[in-house]
Each structure stands twice: as structure tokens, then as C-alpha cells.
Amino acid sequence: MSIPGEWYLILAAALFILGALGLLVRRNVLVMFMCIELMLNAANLTFVTYSRMLGDIGGQVVVFFVLVVAAAEVVVGLGIVVAIFRRRASSSADDLNALKG
């Protein structure tokens, strides 16, 4: 008898929330990206758990796609960071506030 799905789901929720918290409190853009990855992982964990709970393979397939998306996102995101870094040597999100109001 394995651990009930609810525990996984709550764990995933906690992970998701921690990821969101990290995004809100961290200034380093790269760490913010990582926090997004945390959130995606939480979603993945949820998918897999549901896949087990419902006995449905669909959840696992979705995780597969989420992984691809995450990869593509990271590539582009890091590309943007690199492009910006050429102009200013800072990866702090708080330094980017020329556009406002």
C-alpha cells in the first residue's frame, strides 16, 4: 500500500507555493527562473500523482510536454538575460525599472 495521493498533492502545492514565494522575494533573475522551474515541477508532480490516482496515462504525457516547454523557456529566458547582461552587468530584477508608470 503506497502513500495516498493526497499527500503528494499537498506536497506539490507546498512546492508550488514555495516557488511562487521565491519569485516574489528573490532579486536575481536566474534564481527567479529557478523558482519558476520549482512551480513547474510542482505541477508535474501533481500531474503524475493524478495520473496514478485516476489510473490515467494522460497526466504523465502532459508532464512530458511541460518538460519541453520548460526547456524552451529556459533557453529563451537565459538568452534574454545574456542579451541584457551585455549592456549592464547585473542580473538583479530590481535594476530593470526604466519602464514604469
Binding site: 500500500m1 503506497s2 502513500i3 495516498p4 493526497e6 499527500w7 503528494y8 499537498i10 506536497l11 502545492a13 507546498a14 512546492l15 507555493i17 514555495l18 516557488g19 514565494l21 521565491g22 516574489l24 522575494v25 528573490r26 532579486r27 536566474l30 527562473f33 523558482c35 522551474e37 520549482l38 515541477n41 508532480l45 503524475v48 500523482t49 493524478y50 495520473s51 496514478r52 490516482m53 485516476l54 489510473g55 490515467d56 496515462i57 494522460g58 504523465q60 504525457v61 508532464v63 512530458f64 510536454f65 518538460l67 519541453v68 520548460a70 526547456a71 524552451a72 533557453v75 529563451v76 537565459l78 538568452g79 545574456v82 547582461f85 551585455r86 549592456r87 552587468a89 547585473s90 530590481d94
Partner: protein, 231 residues
């Protein structure tokens, strides 16, 4: 809630408990470590924990992909950029320049946590129909087989559509990493080895199959899919 927990076997319980601890610790590490490199390593911890839980839930293929793509490729890319940019300096985590940001964030998190727990206590978590897209264990096939079949039937179109994402990733990386032609920017000197793999190999690599060179995991993904399809 506690009763089912007790009903679980000890190894399962232990595995879950340890993995959960690892996952949360890793997550906390990401959001608290001053050094971006440490954060990336913490992220690996979490990813690993998640992979364990995937296995624990009979999603062994995804666990493998998780390790290879995430830990193996994405985090490496992170580290690569961190090192390349030289921004592995410490960030003063204790200080928050934006007024009200942190208290509000923590408050929201607390509330959300409370909501989740309340939801967990009161509601049914999984109310959905069972095995809509196909059973996880259809005909006692392996996880990979079942997964592969789902990918090429129910999710065929989604699978094909991911090709577009990879095209974007390729082109995006090329565009963004391209050095400004007329130089008012910092990088006046000849281009350093900025992601040469991207620049070099992707330009002539096209097609829905996606370029394997971009992400380490990309090859695995396509490879696995090809494999399933062939089978």
C-alpha cells in the same frame, strides 16, 4: 488522513518522507541561498526528490527524463549562464528593497498554504473520471509503452506542436545571443564563446524533429519518442 498514511508500507512511507523533505529543503534552498550557484544546486536536489516521487508513483520513464532533462540539461544551462555572466556573487537575501513586497508575499503564502490544507481536509482531491486517455497499466504494458502510445495517439498533435517550441528556442537563442552589429554595446571585442553550440549547429538544423544540440534532454525526448514509435 493519517490513517491511510499508516496504512502505507514502511518503505513507501520512508521514501515519501525523505523525498518530501529533500524536495522542500531544496526549494527552500533555492529561495534562500545567497549564491545563485547554490540555488541551482538546491534546485537539483528538489528535482531529484521529485524524480524519486515519480518512480514511487510508477512513472519511471518520466523520472528518467526528469533527471536527464532537468538536472542534466536545464540546470547545467543555468550554471553555465551563471558562470558565464559571472554573477555568482552573493545576493543580500536578508534585505528587501521593495517596500511591502516581502510581508505581503509571506502573508499570501501563509494564506495559500492554509487554503490548501483546508481544501485537503475537506474536499475530495481527485474527482475525475478514470483512465480517460488510457490506463497507466493498459494490458500490463510497460510505462514507456503506455506513455509512448498515448503520445502518438491521444496526444499526437500536441507532440507535433512541441516542434514549434524547439524552433523558437533555436531561433530565439540565435537572435538573443547575436552580438549587436553596430557596436554601442559592451561586447565590442570579438565574440567570446557565447553558447557556440547554439550558434553553430542550429542554423542548419531544422524540421519538426527539433535540434538535438540545443538541450541535452532534447535528444532524449525525441529519441524516446522515436523509439516508442518504432516499437
Amino acid at each position: 488522513m493519517s490513517a491511510p498514511m499508516l496504512a502505507a508500507t514502511v518503505p513507501d512511507s520512508l521514501t515519501f518522507a525523505i523525498s518530501a523533505a529533500v524536495i522542500l529543503a531544496g526549494a527552500l534552498g533555492v529561495i534562500t541561498s545567497r549564491n545563485a550557484v547554490h540555488a541551482a544546486l538546491s534546485l537539483v536536489m528538489t528535482l531529484f526528490g521529485v524524480a524519486v516521487l515519480f518512480i514511487e508513483q510508477q512513472a519511471s520513464f518520466l523520472a528518467a527524463v526528469q533527471i536527464i532533462v532537468y538536472a542534466g540539461a536545464i540546470v547545467v544551462l543555468f550554471l553555465f549562464v551563471i558562470m558565464f555572466l559571472g554573477v555568482d556573487r552573493r545576493e543580500n537575501v536578508a534585505e528587501e528593497p521593495l517596500r511591502g513586497q516581502r510581508p505581503l508575499a509571506v502573508l499570501l503564502v501563509a494564506v495559500a498554504m492554509g487554503g490548501v490544507i483546508a481544501l485537503g481536509v475537506s474536499a475530495h482531491w481527485a474527482t475525475g473520471a478514470h483512465a480517460v486517455a488510457g490506463s497507466t497499466t493498459a494490458g500490463h504494458h510497460s510505462n514507456v509503452y503506455v506513455l509512448g502510445k498515448a503520445v502518438f495517439t491521444t496526444y499526437l498533435f500536441a507532440f507535433e506542436a512541441t516542434a514549434a517550441l524547439l524552433v523558437i528556442a533555436v531561433v530565439g537563442a540565435v537572435v538573443l545571443a547575436k552580438r549587436p552589429r553596430s557596436g554601442e554595446s559592451r561586447g565590442e571585442e570579438p565574440a567570446g564563446p557565447e553558447e557556440p553550440a547554439v550558434d553553430g549547429s542550429s542554423a542548419d538544423d531544422e524540421g519538426p524533429g527539433g535540434p538535438p544540440a540545443l538541450v541535452g534532454g532534447g535528444a532524449s525526448v525525441t529519441g524516446a519518442a522515436d523509439h516508442g514509435g518504432a516499437g
